[in-house]
Amino acid sequence: MRKRPSEFIIELCIRLSGFLVIAFVFLIFLFLLKDALSLFASHSVGSFLFGKNWLPVSDPASFGIMPLFLGSLYVTIAAIAISVPLGVGTAMFIAEVAPKSIKGVLKSLVEILAAIPSVVLGFIGIIWLGPFMRNTFHLSTGMCGLTGSLLLAFMALPTIISMSEDALVGVPRSYREAATGLGATRWQTLWRIILPAASSGIIAAVMLGIGRVIGETMVVMMVTGNAPVMPTSILQPLRTLTATIAGEMGETVRGSEHYFALFAVGLILFIITFIINIFAELCAHRNRK
């Protein structure tokens, strides 16, 4: 059967759209790589990855991303340490404990949290959480790593809660029935049977949560104090990879070493989130089986 020309064109468009999605990932990678490589013409990869000084405007400039990487790492670890117990606990409560009416309210509130723009949370950090942290921990400034971590933990919660809940609810009914039939309480069933069975889905949820936290820009730029020094404590001002790009991009001269260095930082972020996402996808895939 021959296709009409209009049909041929639309089917071509459909295939092209599928191709575009792949093309975007490659384009993003290539454009980051192109400018990042220009930096490595004058600075070694080793000094970039392991250098302890991020001094982009001094002479000679030094582009070591260790302080920024550690800044991201500190903030992420603290945020995840807060959001995983809260998120998985809430998911367990929604999936297995809460009565239907409360379940609905909780789920809508989590959706509302997901909808709050990050810049609004950053604003709350400046106006309220920062001063609160300063007074609570007697700090010289409330704009520190932990303030950012607290807000980031809340930004990661919707992802962790909704994906963990899906994983918990997705555990086959027969598991539950078998456990109940053997005389286990609902809690024993949840803790010993359902949670382990959903574990790879929950790990995927946590990985995606980590990805969100590492990639978040506005909150950390607004509340973590923007100090590109080697962090020694989470209660100090520090600076993340993302905030560095957002904060310095506007001040660089196009084609300068500093400009290329920011693209190299972007490339590192791309690679980190790429790995996290592949890993999360593998876990989610295993969970579906």
Binding site: R15, G18, V97, L157, N277, I278
Partner: protein, 282 residues
């Protein structure tokens, strides 16, 4: 009560407490913004240009800027998003190309927003020479919104029963006719819901438009799509960090308007979903 029962009661109480700990800050944050914001919002604030270094006047250009950016984002991302989901669900065989597309969607959704900003800057602002403009910003936001639209459309298409396709095909309709008249119309509610949600997220994003579209201070409306614009989220960032002695009421009011806009879009998507679910015929 047996020991196991007691343990269950304690464990459930702890889970309840955890859920409570999650919910309270959410309610507090919303209440805090609404309480402080609503008193500072007036008709003048919404309809006037900012004056006196943004310390007085309104945020009209920022509201319009954000609207324009969302519209541009929708125009650019909707066709590609829907068509590529159609490809994945209706046309694709399980081969390497299809798996690559799925993997790309997953990865696009994980790329940090600031990296989209960098990419948009090199590709649209520099390489295509669009300059810092509505066009460059919309395209950047569109690529960022793509994974959400593809995923939502995919789910909507998959939820249309296979019998619809079989009947249509057996009556001699072609693949595209089947998709166009027997699948897409029934998937539309899901597609719309997902699209509005992704746009509400795009409306609140700051990092992707930092270097591609946003103007620090521009007390007039843009003349064309190659103009810079003010945008609500960027404006809130600017007035709460870059402008010294900013009256805090203006920041609160801006945060309120931004949240109200985003929530409104979310409500629209919820209403759409409920409306179409009632009309569902299978």
């Amino acid at each position: 009560m047996t020991a196991a029962k007691i343990r269950q009661t304690v464990a459930f109480a702890i889970l309840g407490l955890i859920a409570f700990l999650v919910v309270v800050p959410i309610v507090l944050i919303i209440a805090y913004i609404f309480k402080n914001g609503i008193s500072a919002v007036s008709w003048e604030f919404i309809s006037q240009n900012p004056r006196n270094g943004m310390k007085e006047g309104g945020i009209f250009p920022a509201i319009i800027g954000t609207m324009l950016l969302i519209t541009g984002t929708m125009i650019c991302s909707l066709p590609v998003g829907i068509l590529s989901a159609v490809y994945l669900v209706e046309y694709a065989k399980d081969n390497l190309f299809t798996r690559l597309i799925k993997l790309s969607v997953v990865n696009l959704s994980g790329i940090p927003s600031i990296v989209y900003g960098l990419f948009g800057f090199t590709l649209f602002v520099m390489f295509f020479k669009f300059g810092t403009s509505i066009l460059a910003g919309s395209l950047t936001l569109a690529i960022m919104s793509l994974p959400v639209i593809v995923t939502a459309t995919k789910e909507a298409l998959e939820s249309v029963p296979a019998t619809f396709r079989e009947v249509s095909l057996s009556l001699g309709a072609s693949k595209w006719q089947t998709t166009r008249y027997c699948v897409l119309p029934y998937a539309m509610p899901g597609i719309l819901t997902g699209t509005v949600l992704s746009l509400s997220r795009a409306a609140g994003e700051t990092a992707p438009i930092l270097f591609t579209a946003a103007a620090f201070f521009l007390p007039r409306l843009p003349h064309s799509i190659s103009d810079q614009v003010m945008a609500l989220p960027y404006h809130l960032y600017v007035i709460s960090t870059q402008v010294p002695n900013m009256p805090v009421e203006i920041s609160f009011a801006t945060a309120f308007v931004l949240i109200a806009l985003v929530f409104l879009m979310n409500i629209v998507s919820i209403v759409l979903r409920a409306h179409y679910r009632k009309k569902k015929i299978w």
